[in-house]
Symmetry: C2
Subunit: 429 residues, 2 copies
């Protein structure tokens, strides 16, 4: 990261001007009606469909550059846009039109003894910055959720998606302007490179909230560097503890679903803790099924003793306990009971999702009370920590911090509140 003092003045001026314009647009959006915002969102969905060819062409340039740079197939897949994917993105924008607008909701209202009528009313945050990696769908996700909740956005995507993002942002800005809202409601700063991201992280006068979305390294960099308030999202070193009373079927189903239903995402299972008294009953079947799904298991010899003879187990190291594999790998450990399970989770949890599988009411209560995470589950797949699954509609990410938003961040989490005091001359005595 370049020190702020070494950034070219042109970059500082350029990003600052964009952030200032975004703030002016945000003032206008704050008093824009839900109907007007929905009209603009519909225009955005239509424009994405109408400009599919242009967006695909821009994306092809990014893909070609990615191949030249030796980008992995998994990353190329995240980067790739085709007509089907753009259609799906446009449909997701239409779905946001149908979500309730949180702006204007009265969170609390009372009349004070002196007659002042007090209301706490939901209002937009203002300007939301986002710094993320090379997934161009995130550009649309964040811009659209910000707009629906009355916010302007300033977006810094990965440089590998630069052409795609530039084209998408042009399409979005034109669509928003065609619906009579300010084009500066949506802004890209990819053209300023990494230094532009640095300026954004220091634009505290104009940016109200910064959301980093990506891997641990990106998030840590933003947390360290930003003086704009940050909400951390998405790092999930997710645990499941199989208690001695768990039934084999439930344990097997939940482990398999949590690990393999979509291994690349933050709410997938990374470390399995098994009560030593349950090991003989549940582990042979769990290990066999994981093996069948191609999952690499990291464990010690006590665990390996329960594996099918043909199965290869990788020797577990301390580093595995802290690792978010985000793929078909899992660390497995025997524990002497719920206390050891809780201690292990406290030591290694990223505060995302932690689950116990048990039939014992006391242990369920103990686990829920003792574990400090955004979501704690009893006898459920870890994969349910998700805005859609929990009933919020679309989400900007899963917050793993405690301030402001914890867990899935939907539209409501992109707002703040304003206290309104209506009186007729009250003074304080």
């Amino acid at each position: 990261m370049t020190a702020a003092s070494e950034i070219h003045p042109k970059t500082v001026r350029g990003v600052t001007r964009i952030a200032r314009n975004a703030k002016a647009a945000a003032s206008q959006l704050a008093t824009t009606s839900t109907a007007e915002k929905n009209t603009a969102l519909t225009a955005v969905a239509d424009a994405l469909r109408a400009n599919t060819d242009r967006i695909v062409a821009a994306n092809e340039a990014d893909i070609a550059a990615g191949i030249d740079d030796g980008m992995s197939e998994a990353l190329l897949d995240r980067l790739r846009l085709d007509a089907d994917r753009i259609a799906a993105i446009a449909d997701s924008v239409d779905a946001v039109v149908d979500l309730a607008d949180p702006v204007g909701d009265v969170v609390l209202g009372r009349t004070l003894p002196n007659g002042i009528r007090l209301t706490q009313t939901r209002v937009p945050m203002g300007v939301i910055g986002a710094i993320y990696e090379a997934r161009p769908n995130v550009t649309v996700d964040i811009a659209v959720l910000a707009l629906k909740s009355g916010n302007a956005s300033v977006l810094r995507g990965g440089s590998a998606a630069q052409n795609s993002n530039a084209e998408i942002i042009t399409v979005l800005r034109n669509a928003v302007a065609s619906a009579g809202l300010p084009a500066d409601a949506i802004n890209g700063i990819d053209q300023f490179g990494r230094d532009g991201a640095n300026v954004l992280m220091h634009a505290r006068d104009f940016v109200d909230l910064l959301i980093p979305r990506g891997g641990t390294e990106l998030i840590n960099m933003v947390v360290q560097e930003s003086i704009v308030p940050v909400i951390e999202t998405g790092v999930g070193n997710v645990h499941m503890f199989i208690d001695s009373t768990a039934t084999v079927k439930t344990a097997v189903d939940l482990v398999l679903n949590s690990k393999t239903q979509r291994p690349s995402v933050c709410n997938s299972l990374e470390t399995l803790l098994v009560h030593e008294k349950a090991a003989k009953r549940v582990l042979p079947k769990i290990l066999d099924r994981l093996d069948g799904e191609g999952v690499v298991v990291h464990a010690d010899s006590d665990v390996a003793a329960h594996a099918p003879t043909t199965m290869k187990i990788k020797r577990v190291s301390r580093r595995d306990w802290a690792k978010e594999y985000l793929g078909l790998e899992i660390a497995v450990k025997l524990v002497s009971g719920i206390e050891e399970a809780i201690d292990h989770i406290r030591a290694y949890s990223s505060g995302h999702t932690e689950v116990i599988v048990t039939k014992d009411l006391d242990n369920a209560d103990t686990f829920v009370a003792a574990i400090d995470a955004a979501a704690v589950g009893v006898n459920v797949s870890t994969r349910f920590t998700d805005g859609g699954e929990l009933g919020f509609g679309a989400e900007v990410g899963i917050s793993t911090q405690k301030l402001h938003a914890r867990g899935p961040m939907g539209l409501e989490q992109l707002t703040t509140t304003k206290w309104v005091m209506m009186g007729n001359g009250q003074i304080r005595s």
Copy 2:
């Protein structure tokens, strides 16, 4: 501010050890019942009364040092503790016992289509750090509100109050331990000086929230330096706009109360904007009354034309518009209408409290919608933005940022939530 790399390893180890112990205490407090916490708080109040002499003696050492250092009478007054003040502090602790405990409140609950019972439950934040200036009552305020809401605290007061704070923290820790809770629920780090504050601002693994309380300089330093999430409190460049339809009596009453009822606090009025059509009616009386109360008025000649001939008006400069006087001074400006008033407030507001005085419904609505501040008032004194006045009981400060807490921060703002998912084997398809 010392660069983190230059801090003595002993300071880093010492503060980190305290923060780690505080986190362990927080784990225990998270499952401590309200009754147990209240017993500990009552013990704290009793211990403050029983140890009045020791605390006063420690405070006398701070006062003596302050006099030697040439501290102003206003600062000495903030620093001073006597038997009456300690009795008042102990009474305020008893009042916290009577407040409702937010921990365990269910914020939202629903049953998902798949049968998972979902609840969003209020839980403590964990460890709350505070960095503040030389007012030893703040030590008790923050420690006690943190404890009531199930949090441990790590406190860094001003070095000028070092002896008072050390004695108070000893009394508090002993009282908490005597009630069976961990002494590490309350911790001081004054002994490590400024470098200790720096380590605290980087102790992200152990500290969940940092609250700076003090002047603009202190708050800006913490915002710039801290990688622990911060809530900004208390800077109030507060405006009042007198619209053309305001009655003289209401305008005079509200200006006088807002400026002079307690000028040293953040919700007192700093800049008065007057509609030019109201100037002739309201200004002579307002200026005369301000003069009578000894308030220094900063204004231009258009305003001065309405002043009593004997009154001295100070020539206003651009800097006055941005200034939080926190004393018997005020800036006054004529504006051509509500648009200019809103533009001026947008340019100079610190986002604390802004008030309009009007009889016009459209202008009241416009002002409330357009002004981006924690509190917006219509025909009320600015002094009502206060936890006690708005009905929250005690407060830790007034948040002027948009994330997590905006406006008075009471017990609820010292908590976060946890999503609890109760199921019987649900998997995601």
